[in-house]
């Protein structure tokens, strides 16, 4: 927790005691009166039990959301979430926090739109402010052909009940005057496709909110507990070996995107996944500059401004297999040059830091959510760049799949078998090259 430093006048409690509190304006005022010294731990820190009904591997947003919906909607409370490090320390805390459902293909549109609807009520549902901000997501287009393609995608979205607006160059200019509208520009802005309900959320808060709400419904969240092997008896997964001992379970569910390939290897599965590095960056805090999320259409670049004022942005993956959780400078230079060509005022902004996360890149650019080929084992991974926005929806459909031993209609297209059967969900149409999605 925060100790000293930032707010030296405030004494932080040891946070040992755990208390089931409902957060409200009254709890905030009460704590304000005692200088915020009375906050208790928001979830327990239990020792792992010998057996559970369901073990979820991975304490990121997806795993915690799955545990929450299992307990809340399916009455399965005897659940453990095993996390090898700390909660949300993987990709949940490393993404650029963008939330959208602006997809062309039906399976993607339906899944991400379901997630969007859950986002819209999530803070109330969890009693935890995930700071979901529907500031809009605007994709810029830079040619007549691209405008046509965006119109097509916008129409497909509307047919699927998703909000989409095609903006002209002047409408884009009115919204974001900082973009480069000069005559000399290499990639002139022709317009853009706006999803007004898109936006951002506080990514750590999402992990913490789901953790607290799951814990309150009886889920054991066990950190510093790495799964080292699966226990497979008679062709069925019956538990896991961990760094904190053997734990048995009726069902075991993976939610470790970035490391899905490595974990699946332990169960003898080879997947249509390569692990790659995606970097993101944040600038020094600035005064309000950008009140929406905007993406460049002539390169790969997306940017928003955090509530603290930092410009948060990212772009392409590194393009080679890696688990290092850090990338190299040429990619940063590439991403930033796309950013500066889109928004020239960024050229003098000082960068604060950059970081990398390991992402599962699948062969068609879409996730895998469903039953694994081994009885009792479930797989949720292959989220490519786009897992954060799916967090509540992914947990929701995954909990349904685990509880019923069968997928929900929203995720029945996202099977592992789709690759063998030729039923790919290739939004970008890039083919079986993970680095291109």
């Amino acid at each position: 927790m925060l100790k000293g430093g930032l707010y030296p006048s405030v004494r932080f409690p040891q946070m040992e005691a755990y208390e089931l509190t409902r957060y409200s304006i009254f709890s905030l005022i009460k704590q304000g009166l005692i200088r915020h010294t009375g906050w208790k731990r928001a979830w327990r820190n239990p020792e792992p039990k010998a057996a559970y009904d369901v073990i979820i591997i991975g304490g990121g947003g997806h795993g915690l959301a799955t545990a929450y919906y299992l307990a809340k909607l399916h009455g399965i409370h005897n659940v453990a979430v095993l996390e090898k490090g700390w909660l949300g320390g993987g990709n949940t805390g490393r993404n650029t926090t963008i939330i959208r459902s602006n997809y062309l293909l039906d399976p993607n549109a339906h899944l991400y739109e379901h997630s969007m609807k859950l986002w819209e009520g999530l803070s109330q549902d969890l009693n935890f402010n995930v700071m979901f901000s529907q500031r809009g997501v605007l994709n810029l287009c830079h040619s007549k052909a691209q405008t046509d393609a965006f119109a097509r995608r916008g129409n497909a979205m509307r047919l699927n009940g998703i909000d989409a607006e095609l903006l002209s160059r002047d409408e884009v200019r009115k919204r974001i005057p900082e973009l480069d509208f000069s005559d000399q520009v290499r990639f002139p802005i022709c317009g853009g496709l706006l999803q007004p309900r898109g936006g951002t959320a506080r990514h750590d808060g999402v992990a913490w909110g789901f953790a607290r709400a799951a814990d309150q419904r009886g889920v054991d969240i066990i950190q510093n507990c790495e799964v080292t092997d699966f226990i497979i008896e008679g062709g069925r997964v019956t538990g896991v070996e961990t760094t904190r001992g053997k734990i048995t379970a009726g069902k075991v569910a993976m939610a470790v995107a970035g490391h899905t390939g490595v974990l699946a290897q332990k169960a003898g599965l080879t997947l249509p996944i390569e692990s790659h590095i995606l970097q993101a960056m944040v600038s020094e805090p600035l005064k309000p500059l950008l009140d929406t999320v905007v993406t460049f259409g002539a390169g790969h670049f997306y940017i928003s401004q955090s509530d603290k004022g930092g410009m948060v942005f990212g772009g392409d993956i590194e393009g080679y297999n890696s688990y290092a959780q850090r990338g190299n400078l040429p990619t940063l230079e590439h991403v930033i040059s796309a950013g500066v060509s889109m928004m020239p005022c960024l050229s003098r902004v000082r960068m604060l830091r950059s970081w990398g996360g390991t992402v599962d890149m699948t062969m068609d650019g879409s996730p895998i959510i469903g039953k694994a080929p081994i009885e009792g084992l479930f797989i949720n991974g292959g989220w490519n760049y786009g897992g954060f926005k799916a967090t509540p929806g992914s947990g929701w459909v995954y909990a349904h799949t685990i509880a019923n031993d069968a997928p929900h209609p929203l995720n029945e297209a996202f099977t592992l078998e789709r690759f063998a059967r030729g039923r790919l969900i290739d939004e970008r149409g890039a083919g079986a090259n993970p680095a291109l999605h």
């Binding site: 390939g261 490595v262 290897q265 249509p272 390569e274 190299n328 400078l329 062969m363």
Partner: protein
């Protein structure tokens, strides 16, 4: 920054290269006699190891030759390189 030793040009900056993916996958010898399971394995499945990985790189902004590289995916260390049809262990 990765420095990749091209067998023809010597150590060169990574920006001159493009990654070509898993080099352990071999194109089926007789496409007409290949089953759909074998095609699935060749096209879609990857070992994706955490550690040493044998992969192709293309010296696209240099001599334009393809090469084979053994690289550690946890440290990014380039361990050995060879021509694409060569042997990494010699």
């Amino acid at each position: 920054m990765l420095l990749i030793k091209c067998p023809w040009c010597g150590e060169r900056d990574m920006v001159e290269f493009t990654h070509g993916g898993d080099a352990t996958k071999v194109y089926p010898k007789d496409p007409n006699a290949t089953t759909s399971e074998e095609w699935h394995d060749f096209i879609y499945l990857r070992e994706n190891p955490c550690g040493e990985h044998v992969e192709y790189w293309h010296h696209v902004a240099g001599c334009r030759q393809w090469l084979k590289v053994r690289r550690d995916t946890t440290t990014h260390d380039i361990l050995t390189t060879a021509p694409a049809d060569g042997d990494l262990d010699t």
